[in-house]
Point group: C2
Chain length 341, copies 2
């Protein structure tokens, strides 16, 4: 049976997993990235992780059909090159794909980590229903990562810079975003910014004397997390409920816009914030129903991701498998049939 | 040489054009739609228009490689069926594609009119540069029609309801839109709503005594058009300038969001409003530069459409040609290679 290796490059850990063609995980491992030692050390750690999971599964490297890498950072997908790595030192146009391919001796494909995670959910997670081929995934973390699958194909854009749904402008001239825009979805509804909005409300004196968030924040040296907000909201805390409802409201508006543009069958939310569970999802679905058009009934399903911490390497393996199935492992992405002019 | 017939179904006229493989128009015609007589009469008019242009060009019907239809109305593209036609009576699940195919005896493809127009600009208009394969087009009219081309393929979505960029939500809980949402791009920046915003400003007493728009509106029985606004703005009228700048500002914000999602090489604006020319386009480009992110320099070109009144049938012919080139004239759209699960 065909067999795929997924490598998930994170700032702290490299996760590797070997999967068979039915998405069964044959072996997996998590190992430190050693980002502080620069790209060579990181690439070495990735290659070693790949060799280790193959050995654990008892699969010789040459029986691996393809390797997929899910990586952060702006990249040139056609060339397989990482242009830059915002939080890791020394990455400047590193040919990550070819170095991993050489190190493991197997055909390798590179993908953006948010895209890979979405593709993993499409293959083997929340979107695995074989009737689903149009799926949008938003990962709520420090930022909001996005993966968009259109008729079974990941959206990349002309310079691998598309599918940045976290930077849709939701509020003209609104909150400043790290990207330089104002009013991005991410500036309101990421896990980090949900917590930041609560801190700002406390500092503005809003409900600061009565909300449980005020004392919690003091106990945590001034810090709050999205989990703190949702936990307090579930106990009925007024400020926390308001912040949580605002987050869900922004996410519901974003879902409406994403439906108008992509008409997906499913919108999947991932990231730690989804641990807030039905409480969060019911609010998002209600906000979506309030904001979406009335011309046609929406059938989109708004659901949590299912792959958890394994999403990265499962998605990377899914991308490798897809390239293999399409016969594109050795072809540049641009080899597809286009209009002749 | 290959030869394609494009049929553009409008509420008032059916436009038909016969094109060769280099997008040269061999013959064209415009004939009344006869929408008031129902779908049978409209379909007959379309078939007759096709036969007439073929005769004018001296091309026997059997030498036409394929026919493309650009049509308004919600539709099922896979089935070739018009579900409904908001402004034309009697259209209820009409198999338009197959009836035209039977009437002309040629393979026929159906496409949404906004998508077809975008595909025409991609083939033979503003986007004809052979290096361009990622293009978004917005047509500014009563509403804002949108066509989105990703790596040479039109975006349709799971129920042919995608690519409705006019209904991205730009202002949460903003102006009511005909679609039932609030704050849609279309509710602010379509040609009609640009005029409506000026009328509302006059009625609110804003600059009502000094703006040239006030007297113009009285002379036009209470009506204003987007052209009136842009003409007055170019003469320095304060209110008109403000309204025009707001429209450009909303369009610039929309361009930023579209770039984050689709990373296109080109954004094309079409519709009568683009006759405002450089005055409008400079304002849109400035607004885009103000609102877009600073992480990476944007290289997108924001330009006017070039095909004018012929865009509809040229685009329909382009869609037919594309289906022919891909060998998809007789295959359902869903026959593309997808993930096996």
């Amino acid at each position: 049976m065909a067999c795929y290796l997924g490598l998930d490059l994170g700032g702290t850990n490299v996760k590797a997993g070997l999967l068979d063609d039915t998405a069964r995980v044959l072996a997996k491992i998590s190992t430190p990235t050693h980002a502080e030692h620069g790209p060579d050390a990181v690439i070495e750690a990735m290659i070693e992780a790949g060799k280790t999971v193959a050995a654990h599964a008892g699969v010789p490297l040459e029986q691996i059909d393809a390797v997929g890498i899910g990586s952060p950072g702006p990249m040139d997908l056609d060339a397989g090159v990482i242009r830059d790595m915002p939080n890791l030192p020394g990455w400047d146009h590193v040919p990550l794909r070819d170095r991993i391919a050489t190190g493991l001796g197997r055909p390798t494909v590179l993908e953006n980590d948010a895209n890979a995670a979405a593709f993993g959910e499409y293959w083997a997670g929340a979107g695995r229903d074989p009737k689903i081929h149009h799926l949008v995934m938003l990962t709520l973390g420090t930022g909001i990562g996005t993966g968009i699958i259109i008729d079974g194909v990941l959206l990349h854009g002309s310079n691998s810079l598309g599918a940045e749904g976290g930077h849709m402008i939701l509020v003209p001239d609104g909150r400043r975003c790290g990207c330089g825009q104002r009013g991005c979805l991410e500036a309101y509804a990421s896990a980090s910014n949900t917590a930041t909005r609560a801190i700002e409300a406390l500092e503005a004196g809003h409900d600061g004397t009565t909300s449980a968030l005020a004392s919690l924040r003091r106990a945590q040296a001034g810090r709050l997390t999205a989990k703190d907000i949702f936990d307090a909201a579930k106990t009925g805390d007024t400020l926390a409920t308001e912040i949580a409802e605002q987050t869900a409201n922004y996410l519901g508006i974003a879902c409406a816009s994403l439906c108008r543009l992509f008409d997906p069958q499913m919108i999947v939310f991932a990231g730690g914030m989804i641990l807030a569970g039905d409480y969060l999802f019911e609010m998002i679905r209600e906000a979506f129903a309030r904001h979406t058009w009335k011309l046609v009934k929406d059938h989109v399903r708004i659901v949590p991701a299912e792959l958890g911490n394994d999403a990265g390497f499962i998605g990377a393996a899914a991308v490798a498998r897809d390239a293999d199935q399409r016969g594109r492992l050795h072809a540049p992405l641009t080899s597809r049939k286009r209009l002749t002019r």
